[in-house]
């Protein structure tokens, strides 16, 4: 049977759940040697990615990408984090900040495949479309 990266990640999570550092080290060594034996080392990149997702999901952590036209100060960053936390009911938010001058202003928040686009560029696009339909 073919085992997917997601299944490996789930297994790794349940093996390491609530264990001490030394135990984890042993588990990891065994896990990797199993991967080598079954010829699945090429999947390690995907497994790491999936493990990240599984861990975040279990610990109620959300990873978000925040795009803005200029650098945000600490105050604004905290406000945004608080908003994302409330909106998704997450206990912790890991935010990555990206600067993109092309969006002209406002911010875009991206969590997983959900996008909240509050940029000026998007508003211009919508206005453009609406005015086109009316004429």
């Amino acid at each position: 049977m073919k085992v997917s990266a997601k299944q490996y990640a789930n297994t790794l999570y349940s093996l390491t759940e609530s264990k001490g550092e030394r135990e984890i080290d042993q588990v990891i060594v065994k896990f990797v040697s199993y991967l080598k034996k079954t010829g699945n080392l090429k999947k390690s990149h995907d497994i790491v990615e999936q493990f990240n997702a599984v861990y975040n999901e279990q610990h109620n952590i959300i990873e978000a990408t925040v795009t803005s036209a200029r650098t945000l100060d600490i105050n604004e960053q905290n406000k945004i984090k608080l908003f994302i936390g409330n909106h998704y009911g997450a206990s912790d938010v890991i935010a990555q900040y990206v600067i993109d001058r092309k969006i002209k202003g406002g911010i875009i928040i991206k969590v997983g495949d959900e996008v909240l686009d509050g940029s000026i560029q998007q508003r211009i696009n919508i206005l453009n479309r609406n005015l086109k339909v009316k004429t």
Partner: protein, 500 residues
């Protein structure tokens, strides 16, 4: 008008514009190839939901897998890059529909491609729609007049019927469909010609001919050209069906020609194989039967209680070397209510339309035929069947007994009379009187090479001097005994003048 007023209005428009920020689902392009895109993300996407790419192209989600979405791109896919964002719209694929489409040439997305003004409409109809159910339907009972003698008499088509036109390349399949569209002038019928994977030159020629014959006033042409992406060819017949449903919902009668469904099947096969769906017989995917059956089921005659209206479908299938037992032809034959079978041998012999009367049938159309036509067509069919049996003996000539020779002579005249030129549709009452003259032996003493001349002169004579007989047939829909008497006298009178 002052400058300030204009600025004020502009400001008002901008302020009033409803812009609310909403969360959207997006995906990332993983792979692009030959009109098909694979993406991840888009976790809430629906089957056949519209997606927008950043270059403005529209996609349709077809494959929803555990961690990937496969979509076909409607339009230019060359600008789509790996890693770019794809937005879902939350809307199932649909096209705008409006009366303004009549007389226009459009692509399967409803955009005008004839260089005239844009087609705008608030109303949209879904591309895929469930066909009317049993309760809504009524059996076929009104005729569609094709204006072609051999079809209207022996393979009658009713409103709401699905009649397949099948044959090899270059035997006049499209010609029959176009003649039928031309003949709908003034018959209160909206025609939709769907060109699927056809050469643009052929479409241009058809459009020119329809315009010349004044048939564009009731016709819409939907074009997915040979150079357009396969997704367009796949979508075109469904777009045609969506437009026809819009008119049927208003209680109107619609005739839709799908030219041709073999190319439609090819386009779907291409998309399916690139989407990595498992191939079946002749490499077609498993749902190729359903592809055509769900399309042709949308042709219906609706009960008056549900608004009336009808959609008549004339699908066309191109066979390879006369092989009607190939996969797609057998499928479509079993779906439709009969077929018009055209043969290249007959075509080369000069019998045009090259109709094989023995293999062509109409399973429901006879209940839509007028009584007058029924009266003459029974004998016509019998004459032809007897002739086919005796045809082989025709070369023995004088050795045959009187009756056999008479049957052969009659058969040869019947075949000659059923020949008809392209773009020359004939009114049903004229067809009736001409066929009456033939089946009742009034043409037995006319030389075979004179038949078409005799027919033309006779029609002219009936139109100019015996209009009341034609009117009586139109009004009553049958040939009463009284009309028969008058008609026979008229035919005899005409024969006296013709032989002089």
């Amino acid at each position: 008008m002052s400058k300030d007023y204009i600025i004020e209005q502009l400001k008002k428009q901008i302020v009033d514009a409803e812009i609310d920020t909403q969360t959207e689902r997006v995906g990332t392009v993983l792979e692009v190839g030959d009109g098909v895109v694979r993406m991840d993300g888009l976790s809430d996407v629906m089957a056949s939901e519209m997606l927008t790419f950043s270059n403005g192209a529209v996609g349709v989600a077809l494959n929803l897998e555990e961690d990937q979405v496969g979509a076909m791109v409607l339009g230019d896919y060359t600008g789509i890059k790996e890693g770019e964002e794809v937005r879902s719209t939350g809307k199932i694929l649909s096209i705008p529909v409006t009366e303004k489409m009549i007389g226009r040439v459009i692509d399967p997305l409803g955009d005008a491609i004839d260089g005239k003004e844009d087609i705008v409409s608030d109303k949209r109809y879904p591309i895929e729609n469930l066909a009317p159910g049993v309760i809504e339907r009524k059996s076929v009972h009104e005729p569609v007049q094709t204006g072609i003698k051999s079809i209207d008499s022996m393979i009658p088509i009713g409103r709401g019927q699905r009649e397949l036109i099948i044959g090899d390349r270059q035997v006049g399949k499209t010609a029959i469909a176009i003649d039928t569209i031309i003949n709908q002038k003034g018959q209160d019928m909206i025609c939709i010609y769907v060109a699927i994977g056809q050469k643009e030159s052929k479409v241009a020629r058809i459009m020119g001919e329809l315009e010349k014959q004044g048939a564009m006033d009731h016709t819409i042409i939907v074009v997915a050209g040979a150079s357009d992406p396969a997704a367009f060819s796949f979508m075109a017949p469904y777009a045609g069906a969506a437009i026809s449903e819009y008119f049927m919902d208003q209680g109107k009668d619609v005739l839709v020609v799908y030219d041709d469904l073999s190319k439609h099947a090819w386009a779907y096969r291409q998309i399916s194989l690139i989407l990595k769906r498992p191939p079946g017989r002749e490499a077609y995917p498993g749902d190729i039967f359903y592809l055509h059956s769900r399309l042709l089921e949308r042709a219906a005659k609706r009960d008056e209680k549900y608004g009336g209206g009808s959609v008549t479908a004339l699908p066309i299938i191109e066979t390879q070397a006369g092989d009607v037992s190939a996969y797609i032809p057998t499928n479509v034959i079993s779906i439709t209510d009969g077929q018009i079978y055209l043969e290249s041998d007959l075509f080369n012999k000069g019998i045009r339309p090259a109709l094989n009367v023995g293999l062509s049938v109409s399973r429901v159309g006879s209940s839509a035929q007028t009584k007058a036509m029924k009266k003459v067509s029974g004998q016509l069919r019998l004459d032809l069947a007897q002739f086919r049996e005796l045809e082989a003996f025709a070369q023995f000539g004088s050795d045959l007994d009187e009756q056999t020779r008479a049957q052969i002579e009659r058969g040869q005249r019947t075949i000659e009379l059923l020949k008809q030129n392209q773009y020359a549709p004939m009114l049903v009452e004229e067809q009736t009187v001409v066929l009456y003259a033939l089946t009742n032996g009034f043409m037995d003493d006319v030389a075979i090479e004179d038949i078409s001349n005799w027919e033309d002169e006779f029609r002219k004579y009936m139109r100019l001097q015996q209009k009341d007989i034609l009117d009586a047939i139109v009004d009553s829909g049958e040939i009463s005994d009284e009309t028969v008497e008058k008609l026979e006298v008229a035919i005899k009178d005409f024969k006296d003048t013709f032989s002089e």
